[in-house]
């Protein structure tokens, strides 16, 4: 059976969730692998939410927010950007694939872009394969 990645998407209420809605009402198709969680702002997304999703079996996590300058709360997405940047550095040190965790911007009018971003990310995670747990690594060594 072909590997179907499980992807969790945290979408900001004001831009990206509306963008996803537009993709739907425009009858655009995008991979059904994404499970969308609506959050008030990309600045709400603690990177530990992504770690928690990975712990629960997600293969990829994507955070989508308003474009810089468009945040409903003026600055939430700038905070998200800093956090995600340093969190990626952290993942690198631990050897955790940072390619499984992405931040991107989708506005309320970008239904097409939403479908493209989700399709691109799903393909990227599909190529990476299932996420390996530390249990699997230790098991393999025996």
């Amino acid at each position: 059976m072909e590997f179907e990645p499980r992807i969790v998407g945290f979408l900001c209420n004001w831009c990206s969730y509306a963008g996803a809605d537009l993709a739907g009402t425009s009858r655009l198709s995008y991979p059904p692998n994404i499970r969308i969680i609506r959050v008030p702002c990309s600045g709400r997304v603690d990177p530990m939410l992504a770690m928690k999703a990975f712990l629960e079996g997600a293969d990829g996590v994507i955070v989508l927010g308003c474009h810089p300058g468009d945040c409903h709360y003026s600055e939430g997405n700038y905070h998200a950007r800093r956090r995600l940047h340093l969190f990626h550095r952290l993942l690198e040190l631990f050897g955790l694939e940072k390619e499984r965790f992405r931040l991107d911007w989708v506005s309320a009018s970008e239904g097409v872009r939403f479908a493209e971003v989700v399709a691109g990310f799903t393909e990227q995670v599909r190529r990476l394969g299932p996420r390996v747990r530390p249990e699997d690594i230790l098991e393999r060594q025996r």
Partner: protein
């Protein structure tokens, strides 16, 4: 006059004059070790000492004198090495401690022999103090490639295996958290049950989650005292990831935690024009 003699004399003066209600320092413990002492009387102040065994970061104990509501916190004096004083600066920045209530007996740090964090440290004078004890010695010559650069030279897969091997030993006693002056949450997210973030099960995945959590929560806040690693009963190199992140923060934002008590930490602020290439 030794640092200890000066320390005892000044501690007595501070207590006698009523300038402070307590002096937090070190005293002789058992089996040749030193232990923390909260001296409240002139007699107790006579037991204070400072030498190369004083590894512990006493800024941790300032959290016991946090301002509670309207009540004024008591004035305390505390013996702080450079990294400990950086911890104080972070606590002041984060409104946990009022600087004017703390009299800092800064000590010129000799570097604690055998403490991994001290091997890569060049700081000899605390960034904040009210009185400086001892004479700073020149910092040692930088050492060659260390364990961090060796780790970074590995492939991502090898790094993951390295940490999986390390974290499998973790018994999640949370000693690294308890000893950290920056870990002052009343209820740690690692122990929150509603909703639960991590299971209490000691499994490789849960252990990995805990260490990523701890590393992340200390980004831009870790003052590199290395107490976490010193107290780890399982010998896990937990300071290694803190040191790496402190270096990343320095390179990306030109920021080092606790060098003063005013500069906002990286996660407190942002610039509109930065990090424009999304990963």
């Amino acid at each position: 006059m030794s640092v200890t003699d000066d320390l005892r004399r000044i501690a007595r003066e501070l207590l006698e004059s009523g300038r402070v209600t307590r002096v937090i320092g070190y005293e002789e413990g058992r089996r040749g070790q030193v232990r923390p002492l909260v001296a409240r009387t002139v007699e107790e102040a006579g037991r204070l000492l400072f030498d190369e065994r004083c590894a512990r970061n006493l800024a941790l104990y300032l959290l016991d004198f946090k301002p509670q509501g309207e009540e004024e916190p008591p004035a305390v004096a505390v013996v702080l090495k450079p990294c400990d004083a950086r911890a104080l600066n972070v606590l002041v920045l984060e409104n946990q401690v009022r600087r004017e209530k703390v009299y800092v007996l800064g000590v010129a740090c000799p570097g604690i022999p055998g403490k991994p964090a001290c091997a890569s440290c060049t700081e000899r004078i605390p960034p904040t103090f009210d009185l400086l004890l001892g004479k700073p010695e020149p910092p040692p010559a930088p050492a060659g490639p260390d364990d961090l650069s060796r780790l970074l030279a590995l492939s991502p897969e090898e790094r993951r295996r390295f940490w999986a091997e390390q974290f499998r030993r973790c018994i999640r006693c949370y000693a690294c958290r308890q000893v950290c002056p920056m870990c002052y949450c009343e209820v740690c997210i690692a122990e929150k049950l509603d909703p639960p973030w991590e299971s209490i099960a000691i499994a490789p995945s849960e252990n990995e989650f805990y260490h990523v959590l701890r590393a992340y929560h200390l980004i831009g806040r870790c003052i590199e005292c290395g107490e976490c690693e010193r107290v780890c009963p399982m010998g896990i190199p937990v300071f290694l990831y803190q040191r790496y992140l402190a270096e990343e923060v320095r390179q990306t934002f030109g920021f080092r935690a606790g060098m003063d008590a005013e500069t906002p930490a990286p996660f407190m602020t942002f610039r509109k024009e930065e990090l424009e290439d999304l990963p």
